[in-house]
């Protein structure tokens, strides 16, 4: 009897388990674009999916670098997605979306519906990288790009790997964006992506950031504005700081560091103290300084590098205060440092934030001069 039962259980496990639908019936959605549908006033959704087996590999099992897109329209976002279902060769599989691109029109109208849908419905993923584009998202998803890999993977590579070296853009994943936008009624930043033409070729340009407040797109930050933000939020690893010094041009590579933002109460006044402590190495000097014997030179370069970083942060803080939107996360720092003071100020934060005094202190230490100490002059 036990043997019979065991055989039945094993057979049941084999016969009744597994996917409810074969994997070949799905199309893996890697990029998800959202635009406003002007005809209906609803949404137009564009889904970009890889062509299976298009990379010269065994058909149906591998992903090449070719993609196809389908679109759907609907009064609600979910209706638009379901509309796109009928245009795809399989069922769009939304659990591994890598990149979501939001069109400017939808951004301005508000992304609350999208946020709600992605959070509520487990068929969506919560970790795609979010971008706003100036114009329509579908243009990016339908553009012919000359990448050796899928565009979505190329974008993910840029935001995860290249961001370490280039502070001129900001990128955030959906779950972390939620944390910023839902936590407090202040602003939050999202990535910015645009389709540009260079030498007749389509190129995706990731630069600057987009600003959201109350779930609506209210502005953009340029690439130079975002450098200070990345310094402020500790988002730098191998970035360069370059500046003219005397008759030279200096390029310092920052290897490590930490930025600390803390509110300080001085008298009755709330002041934000920003401390940047970083170390790096000289990557390039456009002259022939005597670093071996001129001991004061490194100290001077430390100070000038600090001043440059300070100016980056100052620009960003001033911009945010001028816009009267706290996307710098100052309110969150206050909430978690002085919760009682935050309780008193939270309702009037939009008026308090623009007048906050900010003190920036930098402590830069150039520890390395590269593989050479002095550069022999080239004649």
């Amino acid at each position: 009897m036990r043997k019979v039962l065991a055989i039945i259980l094993v057979l049941a496990t084999l016969l009744f388990s597994g996917c409810s639908m074969p994997i070949e019936n799905y199309n893996l959605v890697l990029m998800f674009g959202i635009d406003k549908d002007e005809k209906t006033g609803g949404y137009e959704v564009t889904l970009q999916m890889p062509k299976m087996g298009s990379g010269g590999e065994q058909e149906g099992t591998s992903i090449g670098n070719e993609t196809f897109t389908v679109f759907g329209v609907g009064k609600t976002l979910e209706q638009a997605v379901k509309d796109a279902y009928v245009k795809a060769s399989g069922i769009p599989f939304l659990q591994h979306i890598q990149v979501v691109i939001i069109g400017e029109d939808v951004g301005k109208e508000g992304i609350a519906e999208m946020v709600d849908l992605f959070k509520r419905d487990p068929k969506y993923t919560l970790t795609p990288w979010l971008f706003t584009t100036k114009g329509r998202a579908e243009e990016i998803l339908n553009a012919e790009l000359e990448y050796d890999t899928l565009p979505s993977f190329s974008i993910v590579h840029t935001v995860t790997d290249v961001s370490k070296f280039n502070p001129k853009f900001y990128a955030i994943q959906f779950n972390k964006f939620l944390e910023n936008i839902e936590v407090l009624p202040h602003g939050a930043l999202m990535g910015r992506i645009n389709l540009i033409k260079e030498n007749g070729k389509n190129i995706l340009e990731i630069s600057g950031a987009s600003i959201y407040k109350d779930g609506k797109l209210i502005g953009m930050l340029d690439d130079l504005d975002i450098i200070g933000y990345n310094w402020l939020r500790d988002r730098y690893k191998s970035v360069d700081v370059s500046f003219p010094y005397k008759d030279m041009h200096v390029n310092i590579s920052i290897d490590s560091g930490r930025t600390r933002v803390r509110p300080v109460i001085r008298g009755n006044k709330l002041i934000y103290r920003i401390d940047v402590k970083a170390s790096g190495s000289i990557e390039h000097i456009s002259s022939y300084p005597d670093l071996e014997n001129d001991t004061s030179l490194l100290n001077e370069l430390n100070i000038v590098t600090g001043k440059k970083i300070k100016s980056y942060i100052n620009v960003t803080v001033k911009k945010a205060q001028d816009q009267r939107i706290d996307y710098l996360g100052f309110e969150k720092v206050l909430e978690h440092t002085y919760p009682e003071l935050w309780e008193q100020t939270k309702d009037d934060w939009d008026n308090i934030f623009p007048n906050i005094q900010v003190e920036i202190h930098t402590n830069i230490s150039i520890k390395n001069t590269g593989w050479i100490l002095d550069n022999p002059e080239i004649y």
């Binding site: 487990p122 779950n175 944390e179 839902e182 969150k332 978690h336 919760p339 009682e340």
Partner: protein
């Protein structure tokens, strides 16, 4: 007592007893405590769980003390010795109804993640019935078999908790949990009652102590099990706050599933909630089976019958039908958060064991004098 099915008194080692307690306390709590606790305590949620843990350690001490005064009997039997036949029967029935409500709710809650994350096509009634058939099968196999299953599951639970701590590492933001010392102790303590009410389920010890072989080690095993469970849940709550921020944790029903839904390990391993589903399935199934045993055995003693299996066969469809009463997920979640904390925790889980202990101590002193 039927000795063939491995439920003779005593049949559990103190280690197996501890495993059953950990399994019961952690199974649903690890997935459902963080959200309502954080709703009340905000960033101090993890601290609230620790304060709740202190309360439960006190309750655990009282429960084991009471149980050891009548080491060969369950609370259903000795409540009649302590309070007299009628009052004892009423107290016994109150305990049984509490265990019944836990089983009903746990069964319904068991289906929720399967429907949400695995397959929305399977009607929840099918999951309810299939689960209950398995639970009754385990009841037929006896407590010993159940405790061995629990020992096995606990090993996976340990791995699961390590994963739960490691996988969200890259999303941690330490500012989310600051300040570490609460500015409002009132809300921190208020939040502790919720976690304590879940953890105070260790009163099932009142039904299990007679089945443990080495009575001297019960106190240590019980308190250690409560401590491990509380620390695990506090740790999970802390990681959730660190990762998602308290505002997102309190708005999510199954925040632990959400934690793994967002977790990414390197750039390839993602959508890891399936790991939590597997763990949930194993843990809650053992909990349901243990409560079914407690109910069947409790009603057998309360009614003065011989066989608990027949009672299990009668109870199973009743539990399934009752678990279909909540109309929607809000009702399933709201009941434990309101009724459980406000009424069941202070009266049944806290006051009744103290009352029984006090009366029995007074009675025994009177007998000595």
């Amino acid at each position: 007592m039927d000795k063939k099915n491995g439920t003779e008194k005593p049949c559990l080692s103190h280690h197996q007893y501890a495993c059953l307690i950990i399994n019961t306390l952690v199974s649903i709590s690890a997935f459902m405590i963080p959200s309502p606790t954080v709703y009340t305590s905000k960033q101090y949620g993890a601290l609230s769980v620790l304060i709740g843990l202190v309360q439960v350690i006190v309750i655990g001490y009282l429960v084991v003390k009471l149980g050891l005064m009548y080491p060969d009997k369950t609370v259903i039997e000795y409540s009649q010795d302590i309070l007299g036949k009628v009052a004892g029967k009423i107290v016994g029935l109150i305990f049984l109804l509490t265990f019944f409500s836990v089983n009903v709710l746990a069964l319904r809650q068991f289906t929720l993640p399967f429907q949400a994350f695995v397959s929305v096509d399977i009607p929840y009634t099918v999951i309810l019935i299939m689960t209950m058939i398995l639970v009754v099968y385990v009841l037929a196999k006896g407590l010993k078999t159940l405790s061995i299953c629990s020992e096995l599951i606990i090993n996976f639970l340990a791995i699961f908790f390590i994963l739960l701590m490691i996988l969200p590492m890259r999303n941690l933001d330490w500012i989310n949990i600051k300040p570490l010392v609460p500015h409002d102790w009132g809300m921190t303590i208020k939040g502790s009652f919720l976690s304590a009410s879940f953890l105070a389920e260790d009163i099932i010890g009142l039904m299990l102590i007679p089945y443990v072989k080495d009575k001297k080690k019960i106190m240590k095993s019980n308190q250690l099990a409560v401590l491990i469970s509380g620390l695990c849940i506090s740790g999970v709550t802390a990681v959730e706050i660190l990762t998602m921020g308290y505002e997102r944790v309190d708005s999510t029903i199954f925040s632990t599933f959400m934690l793994l839904r967002e977790a990414q390990f390197s750039q390839t391993l993602e959508r890891l909630e399936s790991v939590a589903i597997a763990m949930w399935g194993g843990l809650v199934f053992i909990k349901l089976s243990l409560y079914m045993f407690i109910l069947a055995e409790g009603f057998r003693e309360w009614l003065g019958l011989k066989d608990n299996k027949k009672i299990g066969f009668i109870l199973a469809p009743i539990i399934v039908i009752c678990s279909m009463i909540p109309q929607n997920i809000t009702q399933v979640v709201r009941f434990p958060n309101h009724v459980w904390v406000s009424y069941v925790y202070p009266i049944v889980l806290f006051a009744l064991p103290i009352l029984l202990l006090l009366i029995s101590v007074i009675k025994k002193r009177g007998e000595k004098n």
